[in-house]
């Protein structure tokens, strides 16, 4: 006869999952609304999503209990709070782009918005746990939701993108499970904190425990590949441009920002174990991957003739930059990672938002509305939208005084301060390469005349709400210098609270 298990509700610490449950309840609420009311306008659902996300955010901010909860599965520490804020903030920005003018297929279904909230909830689970099982559940929830979101655009190119993303994602999931399994076999736990303890206590990362050392390396390789797929690190980045091209700009922007911060937090929690062990092989792998992730996509981006594909490669390269912060591994570097990603969210939101507003309906499947040539002479037709798009592109290339420059500067300085001068030089040289391809669309917009017989209608998808939300991003990009100080204070408090 088994002993009956007594658990008090208090010990579960349900506050830890309160924010996430609000997102899930919101998603279910949207589904229910749809059952009882057919054919409601999309603006209803957009605003409902925003409402629930804001509710989610406030619940998160008011949380101040024990970080552990739900049988120690949940871990709502400083970086979990911080990254959830970025995830929710980014999601609010990107869903507001849905208030655009064109009537697209996916917005007719309430499921689109429910799935969006499920994806957000998945990411929140990923970042607020250090148990590999819960991370896996969060990862799969969010990924499955994302695949469907992409495919709902209902064009061949989108379905192709969704299938590609799904195949790659499934492979990554398999790697993740396999890696977790190996680590469970070695250490007997799936919790990262305990795993680190066992690994260091038993000297698994040293020469004395040689047979296990190889097992650790194999496990690491699997986990690394799984995280690499999610973050689009160098050899695992091939899906990115096609997926971005297949999804709408609003969704592509979302994919380039929000899933990655979740991935970064998992990477941070996981790699932290190994970086501080000073293991030469693992450090070399990380270092080389970071450098290649920065450089190779940058070089490919030079060849692109389409702004969206170019931005896809640039976002891979930016991931490499942020990954550098994890490879450096000091506290300043972790601060820099979050600062960089917040500023990158704002800037990338602006760039993809401008593409989204410029989308027309006349283009066919597998044709892009965002080729460089199409933007020729935009400065003469609509100087304002040209300047705004150029502003975001300049900001992405890291030109001061716009938002991303401060992130880059802080990141480079964290590299310099920890003695990685070579890495710092590689980073700045990559900025130069990046500057070249960012300049190309700008030179089309500003330096060329309008193409003969080209369609000169721009901003077809713009409405007042979407314009104002992009305008808000412009405002933040320009005054970024004033935001850095408060942001750094918040980030460093939260990061040092959670011991990174």
């Amino acid at each position: 006869m088994l002993e009956p298990i007594n658990i008090s509700l208090d010990s579960l610490n349900l506050g830890t999952i309160a924010p996430i449950s609000i997102a899930i309840i919101g998603a279910l609420g949207i589904l229910l609304t749809d059952i009882f009311n057919k054919n409601k306008h999309k603006s209803l659902y957009v605003i409902l999503v925003v409402l629930f996300l804001i509710f989610d955010l406030f619940t998160l901010l008011s949380f101040n209990g024990e970080p552990r909860g739900l049988f120690d599965l949940m871990l709502v520490d400083g970086i979990a709070v911080l990254s959830q804020c970025i995830i929710i903030g980014g999601s609010i920005l990107f869903i507001l782009l849905g208030l655009s003018k064109l009537r697209l297929q996916e917005f007719r279904y309430a499921e689109y918005f429910a799935l969006y909230l499920f994806a957000v909830a998945g990411f929140q689970f990923m970042v607020s746990s250090d148990s590999l099982i819960l991370i896996f559940v969060g990862l799969e929830t969010s990924s499955l939701a994302l695949y469907t979101l992409i495919a709902m655009h209902n064009r061949m190119v989108s379905i192709e993108a969704a299938v590609k993303y799904f195949t790659m994602g499934a492979l990554a999931a398999a790697f993740f499970v396999f890696g977790s399994m190996i680590f469970y076999a070695i250490t007997g736990t799936v919790e990262l904190a305990q795993m680190a303890q066992v690994l260091t206590q038993d000297g698994f990362l040293s020469m004395e425990n040689y047979s296990n050392y190889i097992l650790v390396l194999v496990g690491f390789a699997f986990m690394f590949a799984a995280i690499g797929f999610k973050l689009s690190l160098f050899p695992y980045h091939v899906w990115v441009p096609d997926v971005y091209q297949g999804s709408t700009s609003a969704l592509a922007g979302f994919i380039s920002v929000v899933p990655k911060i979740a991935g970064f937090v998992v990477a941070l929690r996981f790699f932290e174990i190994f970086i501080h062990a000073n293991d030469i092989i693992i450090q070399t792998i990380l270092y080389v991957t970071v450098i290649l992730t920065m450089t190779i996509p940058n070089l490919i981006a030079l060849q692109q003739k389409d702004i969206k594909r170019m931005l896809a490669y640039s976002s891979i390269s930016n991931t490499g930059m942020a990954m550098a912060a994890i490879a450096i591994g000091t506290q300043q570097a972790t601060n820099a990672l979050f600062l960089y990603w917040i500023l990158f969210t704002i800037t990338n939101f602006g760039a993809f938002g401008m593409l989204w507003l410029n989308r027309g309906k006349e283009f066919k499947d597998y044709e892009s509305p965002y080729t460089f040539v199409k933007f020729s002479g935009l400065a003469q037709i609509s100087p304002f939208s040209a300047s705004i798009l150029a502003l975001f592109l300049f900001a992405l290339s890291g030109l001061p005084p716009f938002a991303l420059f401060w992130g880059k500067m802080y990141l480079i300085s964290s590299a310099v301060n920890s003695g990685h001068i070579a890495l710092a030089i590689i980073m700045v040289l990559n900025s130069v390469i990046a500057a070249y391809y960012y300049l190309r669309p700008i030179s089309y917009m500003f330096l060329r005349d309008v193409e003969q017989g080209a369609n000169t209608e721009f901003m077809q998808n713009a409405t007042t709400p979407t314009k104002s939300i992009v305008g808000f991003a412009v405002f933040l990009t320009i005054i970024a210098v004033l935001l850095i100080d408060p942001l750094l204070n918040i980030i460093s408090t939260l990061v040092s609270n959670s011991g990174f």
């Binding site: 005084p401 480079i412 310099v416 030179s443």
Partner: protein, 508 residues
């Protein structure tokens, strides 16, 4: 008056933003008004400037990112004061003499933004702020070259952008590293030049940081191996772009050497003086020879600019009061003279739509006034006594004579060589018979062109005859600078070298 520097920086920017509302037919007048006001502001700055004080004046400080020690910190001393006045003056002249017809509104707005960044570079005392303004000059200039330029403008604009961007980013790493060193030494994060100046660095660190800063400055000067973007940029840029590029943007980096490299890395400066002087000499001789071979008048002046920048480099790395004051004076002089030269080319180009020297000839017959103006500007460029060019070149070379008489002798060839190519060009353009039919109908300069060029000529002669107005405040600052260098030098060799170089006495 303590806010005058912020006004100088942000007035053009504010005016540019408001300028979007103005109708494009009235834009030029608006540009003139704004730049005149800016010039008056800069004169006010000069009026309230106390020439007896060697340190920074009108200092203003506001925290921007206090956790990381980045402040909005601005101030002027004798070196930057006159450069700011020159910027305001040249921008004003360039806008007055503007003849561009295409997209005037955008051009004026871009010019005003550019003026903000240029002033910002010369008044920033916080290195990060300096870097921000320094990089921000790229965007307006990129647009000016790329949109209003000649046929190969895309290539020229992108090459200009990438060259200078690369150099500056390496400087950024240097700046961040210096910030780190400062933090290690004092426990405080700071990027203020005034704080950094109190820190004495070991010799090998100075070498590396000097090289990092050198990368940014050398590309923009441009020094010999990095100079290929400049003739291209000048050749393709519109007149107004060339004027600003030559008059102001090229001065940013020699200013950077004087402001940052010399006092922060005194030993490295002494160590590299020979190397820098050699680069300067190569620029003087080699580009003068290329200039002689040019068929395009604008390219020729562009190469002659590089050649004169070589003399400025010599002056700076003479490391004594005469040399550095001379270099600053030559920076001002060269700014005015090369601006005037490019404006003259612009006058010809507007009338004939060509810049090829062989297309002209005998112009003195129907454009006597223009021929006179051109001749005076040309003489100033060569460095004839009683013009502004002479004072600067003479002082720079005098300063460098102390360092090495032989090298100074080679350097003085600049006067001979520039006389060769300038006079040859002048002869082919203005003398002889007026053969070409198209040239006969060319009108002499009048109106706006005469005002713009006339005021430049007056300034060229006035400052050539009475340089004391500028040299006096300059000397106070530069003397202080050389003293600081001598005190801060860590090696005894460099200390002695600096003392030996500075034993002539000051120039009055």
């Amino acid at each position: 008056m303590e806010h005058i520097l912020s006004m100088l920086i942000f007035f053009p920017a504010a005016a540019a933003i408001v300028g979007f509302l103005i109708d494009k037919d009235s834009m030029r007048q608006y540009g003139v008004v704004v730049t005149v006001v800016e010039f008056i502001l800069s004169l006010l700055l000069w009026y309230y400037f106390d020439p007896s004080v060697a340190g920074m004046q009108f200092v203003q400080s506001l925290p921007l990112i206090s956790t990381y020690g980045i402040n909005y910190l601005v101030g002027v001393d004798g070196v930057s004061l006159f450069l700011i006045v020159m910027i305001a003056f040249m921008t004003m002249i360039a806008v007055i003499g503007l003849t561009e017809k295409k997209g005037v509104k955008n051009l004026i707005i871009t010019m005003l933004f550019l003026e903000m960044t240029m002033v910002g570079v010369f008044v920033s005392l916080d290195l990060i702020l300096f870097y921000v303004f320094w990089e921000f000059t790229l965007i307006p200039m990129f647009y000016i070259i790329g949109f209003w330029g000649a046929e190969k403008r895309f290539y020229a604009a992108i090459k200009y952008f990438l060259y200078t961007f690369t150099g500056s980013l390496i400087m950024l790493v240097g700046i961040l590293y210096f910030g780190y060193i400062f933090h290690e030494a004092t426990g405080v994060w700071s990027f203020s030049f005034l704080d950094w100046n109190s820190l004495i660095l070991p010799f090998d660190l100075q070498l590396w940081l000097f090289i990092a800063f050198f990368m940014a400055f050398a590309v923009k000067v441009p020094m010999f191996p990095f100079h290929t973007w400049l003739p291209l940029a000048h050749g393709q840029a519109p007149t107004i772009g060339s004027i600003i590029l030559a008059a102001v943007l090229l001065k940013m980096e020699t200013y950077g050497f004087i402001r940052f490299s010399l006092p922060l890395f005194p030993d490295a400066s002494v160590y590299f003086a020979g190397f820098m002087a050699t680069l300067g000499l190569i620029a003087i001789i080699y580009t003068a020879m290329i200039a002689y071979a040019q068929e395009d008048m604008k390219q020729m002046i562009a190469y002659s600019s590089i050649s004169h920048m070589g003399v400025i480099t010599l002056g700076v790395f003479a490391l004594n009061v005469e040399g550095i004051s001379g270099a600053v004076y030559l920076m001002i002089g060269h700014g005015i003279v090369s601006g005037a030269l490019f404006m003259c080319v612009g006058v010809l180009y507007d009338r004939r739509k060509t810049k090829m020297i062989k297309e002209f000839g005998g112009l003195a017959h129907n454009m006597p006034m223009f021929a006179l103006v051109y001749a005076i500007v040309l003489m100033a460029s060569i460095g004839l006594p009683l013009t502004i060019g002479f004072i600067g070149e003479f002082l720079s070379l005098l300063g460098f004579f102390k360092y090495s008489p032989i090298l100074a002798f080679i350097g003085s060839l600049t006067i001979v060589l520039s006389a060769v190519y300038m006079l040859a060009m002048y002869k082919r353009t203005f003398f002889g018979n007026l053969v070409k039919e198209e040239n006969k109908s060319m009108k002499d300069i009048l109106g706006r062109e005469l005002i713009a060029l006339g005021s430049l000529v007056i300034l060229i002669i006035a400052l050539g005859i009475y340089p004391k107005v500028v040299l006096d405040p300059l000397n106070t600052t530069v003397t202080q600078l050389t003293k600081v260098m001598e005190i801060k030098a860590v090696n005894n060799d460099s200390k002695e070298k600096l003392r030996a170089l500075n034993s002539i006495g000051e120039v009055k």
